[in-house]
């Protein structure tokens, strides 16, 4: 039960829900392989389930359901946030909570829909892979006259095969000659295969996400300055040797201009003034001008953190095993466990407290492989469409030429017309040169 999309080329991953014969452009390379609509034998339950899974209708319905459900999670607060949000803790709240709406991306029903999509995708890929591999690596080169004439783009022209091959090569087509004198010229050979690997990459990402979900962990770790805390899910301890923060802000200069300024570390007021800085009374913050600004700072305002970092040391069995100054975008990684600078706060005494994100995701490599495969294959699949042109000498000396594409039909039509015109021209020139 395989069918071909109206754009031609390899059959789709999932099945259309209506029979091919109802389509106007059902002329395909493997139309002969279509089963007769004769008396249907009993279909097994397994086969029925398989057919259900590979139907395009199911796949599109699932995409639609996932999109709609996802919206809920962007409106209602999720996870930890819900307890801090101003949602009244009413019976409605309890009802939503029971349904899992406050943790919906991890609720059993949302994960079930994702799981069903993964099943459907796997079935589609399994269904399509053999045909696509055959279509890409063993394309039909030897074809009958009627096959060429029945292509979406077809013409019968006065032209020589040699001239045609030369023109097609000049248009960057790869030419393959068959045993019976017919020729196949192709562009974007791997488009259909890339479409399959694109769907496959989705499965890799899903597998990585499942691994991470089952065996990984992810939590916030609060480390006050100079204290040692246990790192949960590991036998390590973490110590902060100091939290450092730098600011950017604006400053008013004595000549009336407003400029961008940065803070530097300065232990005291005299140290700050000694480095031509401006002291706003906050300990540790000294405002300095840019090199070309000139003038003197009268006041500084609008400070924003521009960099914050923690000098972090890890211990195991009382021994130091790693030390690094971590900052946002630059974590400490050890044995698959990552320590990220997430944010900061202050303790009761006004001391700095570093808030770290600690996590361990075993499937991350798989996710990255899937992500790069996805970017590569979708680009290949859509930017380099497959174009196939067959050539065959007709019975009365004319040249039969016909072709199809799996993507843009109008673009191919233009290309095809240009090629046939050039073949005619070139054949004419060659005939002129001979004579």
């Amino acid at each position: 039960m395989r069918s071909t999309p109206p754009d031609g080329g390899a059959p789709p991953a999932c099945r259309r829900s209506f029979p091919v014969s109802s389509l106007q452009e059902a002329n395909s390379e493997n139309i002969a392989a279509l089963p007769k609509q004769a008396a249907k034998p009993q279909i097994s339950v397994g086969r029925k389930i398989f057919h259900f899974l590979i139907s395009m209708k199911l796949a599109l319905t699932l995409l639609f359901v996932i999109a709609i459900l996802s919206i809920i999670g962007t409106i209602l607060p999720q996870g930890q946030d819900v307890w801090a949000s101003d949602w009244p803790k009413s019976p409605l709240f309890d009802f939503y909570n029971t349904l899992g709406l406050f943790n919906m991306y991890y609720s059993w029903w949302f994960l079930s829909v994702l799981g069903l999509l993964v099943l459907s995708l796997s079935a589609c890929i399994f269904n399509r892979m053999p045909t696509t591999v055959k279509h890409v690596f063993k394309p039909r080169v030897d074809v009958k006259d009627a096959f060429v004439a029945n292509q979406p783009q077809a013409a019968s022209i006065a032209g020589g095969a040699a001239a045609a091959v030369a023109v097609l090569r000049r248009h960057h087509y790869r030419v393959k000659k068959g045993a019976t004198g017919s020729v196949l010229a192709q562009k974007g050979r791997f488009s259909s295969l890339a479409s399959v690997t694109f769907h496959l990459s989705f499965l890799l990402i899903a597998a990585g996400a499942v691994l991470g979900g089952l065996f990984g962990f992810d939590y916030q770790l609060t480390v006050p300055n100079g204290q040692i805390v246990n790192v949960p899910h590991s036998n390590m301890q973490a110590e902060s040797h100091g939290f450092d923060m730098q600011f950017s802000g604006k400053a008013l200069l004595d000549d009336g201009r407003t400029v961008e300024v940065n803070s530097t570390d300065a232990a005291s007021q005299s140290q700050c003034l000694g480095s031509n800085g401006w002291w706003d009374g906050t300990e540790g913050i000294c405002w300095v001008r840019g090199v070309n600004d000139g003038g003197n700072i009268v006041s500084a305002f609008d400070p924003r953190p521009s960099r914050y970092s923690t000098s972090l040391e890890l211990f195991q069995n009382g021994k130091s095993i790693s030390r690094k100054t971590i900052q946002v975008n630059d974590p400490l990684e050890l044995n698959g466990i990552n320590f990220y600078q997430e944010s900061f706060s202050q303790d009761n005494q006004g001391g700095a407290v570093s808030i770290l994100e600690v996590n361990h995701y075993p499937g991350k490599t798989l996710v990255y492989i899937g992500a790069f495969l996805m970017m590569g294959s979708i680009t290949l699949a859509l930017y380099f469409p497959n174009r196939r042109i067959w050539l065959k000498a007709g019975k009365s000396g004319e040249l039969l030429i016909g072709g199809r594409t799996n993507r843009s039909r109008l673009g191919f039509k233009r290309d095809f017309e240009r090629i046939t015109t050039e073949i005619k021209l070139r054949t004419g020139q060659e005939a002129g040169a001979d004579g």
């Binding site: 999309p5 109206p6 754009d7 789709p12 991953a13 999932c14 259309r16 452009e25 395009m56 796949a59 599109l60 995409l63 639609f64 999109a67 996802s70 919206i71 999670g73 962007t74 409106i75 999720q78 930890q80 946030d81 307890w83 801090a84 991306y105 996400a209 992810d218 950017s248 961008e260 924003r304 953190p305 521009s306 960099r307 900052q327 946002v328 975008n329 974590p331 990220y340 600078q341 997430e342 944010s343 706060s345 808030i355 994100e357 996590n359 991350k364 996710v367 990255y368 992500a371 996805m374 970017m375 979708i378 680009t379 859509l382 930017y383 993507r407 843009s408 039909r409 109008l410 673009g411």
Partner: protein
């Protein structure tokens, strides 16, 4: 430096405004002189625009991609540059009557949202940001193009059937939606001044809008809606002439352009989402956290993925595809704007 940047950007916006008028005049009057004048103005505007961006870059010390003003300024710059190249290659000046006003609207919103350069918060200091934002904006541009072609497909279909009433309705609905979006956007981004409220437990900032703010936002939306409906009525009436169908590309071409724009935009939105995830992984160690912006970009991705399946597998063409391409822009707009202003999340620092 800031002054130079502002002057250049004001010159840019004014030039685009005049150029918009000239391009529309060119389409209506079919005057070649007007077309040449429009191109000249547009080149001039692009020069000023480039200067403004260079000053901004030098002044802030980072690529201009960190807030609404900067990304919109770069976006409109990209539209004009892309269009001028297309005009040179395909000589399609008629399209300028739609593209140039679009660039003008985007650039003028950028002008209103401009707060001067700001230092980057730590999480934004990564080169993945530059790749992520520019590719995401580019994909939005292609989806906007698909929307435009899909819209004119619907208009052309009604024009050919001489259903002029439907042509007017189509224009009114389209410009009403755009007017409403632009009005709400200005209301949220420029006129309202919400307070930043920090949640004591989660340390997350959320915005608190006062009654006046809400009034300003609703007012902005209402004004945009009224202007959109009026402009849509005028444009629809203007287009409802037998001769106008000949000025538009054929149904086949519009269908193809809409499809190809989506086929071009889809890999980009895929790469945009993935580079965003890689960036999040580098910054926070989580590649996906179901943050509203992530989720909505996933919805956009699913939507256009579904479009491609209906087309490549089911063989949908013409009006069906055009309607999906038109609806898609609502999701794109919400992903780009609605999420920043209406839903909170990690991306909220991207609001101006």
């Amino acid at each position: 430096m800031v002054e130079f940047e502002e002057i250049f950007f004001i010159v840019t916006v004014l030039t685009y405004l005049v150029a918009s008028g000239v391009y529309i005049w060119h389409l209506i009057a079919n005057s070649k002189k007007a077309g040449q004048l429009g191109t000249m103005l547009l080149v001039l505007g692009l020069f000023a625009h480039t200067m403004a961006l260079i000053f901004r870059w030098v002044d802030s010390g980072h690529a201009p991609m960190s807030n609404s003003y900067e990304s919109l300024a770069v976006f409109s710059w990209g539209i004009v540059l892309f269009y001028l190249i297309m005009e040179r290659v395909y000589s399609i000046r008629a399209a300028g009557a739609v593209v140039v006003p679009t660039a003008f609207i985007i650039a003028s919103i950028a002008l209103v949202l401009n707060n001067g350069p700001e230092p980057l918060v730590p999480a934004l200091q990564s080169y993945w940001l530059w790749i992520h934002v520019s590719i995401a904006m580019l994909s939005y541009g292609f989806f906007a193009l698909a929307f435009g072609a899909g819209f004119f497909y619907i208009v052309q279909e009604h024009l050919l059937k001489k259903h002029y009433q439907n042509v007017v309705i189509a224009f009114v609905i389209m410009l009403a939606v755009i007017g409403l979006a632009v009005g709400l956007w200005l209301g949220f981004g420029a006129w309202a001044h919400p307070l930043d409220v920090v949640n004591p437990v989660t340390h997350e900032t959320s915005k608190q809008y006062s009654g006046t703010d809400i009034l300003k936002i609703i007012g902005g939306g209402a004004i945009g809606l009224v202007i959109g409906i009026a402009a849509g009525f005028l444009a629809g009436k203007g287009a409802s002439k037998p001769g106008f169908a000949k000025r538009l590309p054929s149904l086949d071409v519009l269908d193809e352009v809409s499809y190809r724009a989506i086929a071009f935009g889809f890999p980009m939105v895929t790469i945009g989402i993935i580079t965003g995830a890689i960036w999040a992984d580098k910054a926070w160690g989580r590649y996906w956290s179901w943050d509203p912006k992530e989720t909505w970009s996933l919805i956009t991705w699913l939507f256009y993925g579904a479009y491609l399946h209906t087309r490549l597998t089911w063989g949908w063409r013409g009006r069906h595809s055009a309607v999906i391409a038109v609806l898609g822009i609502v999701i794109v707009l919400f992903t780009y704007l609605g999420v920043n202003y209406l839903l909170s999340g990690l991306h909220s620092y991207a609001t101006a």
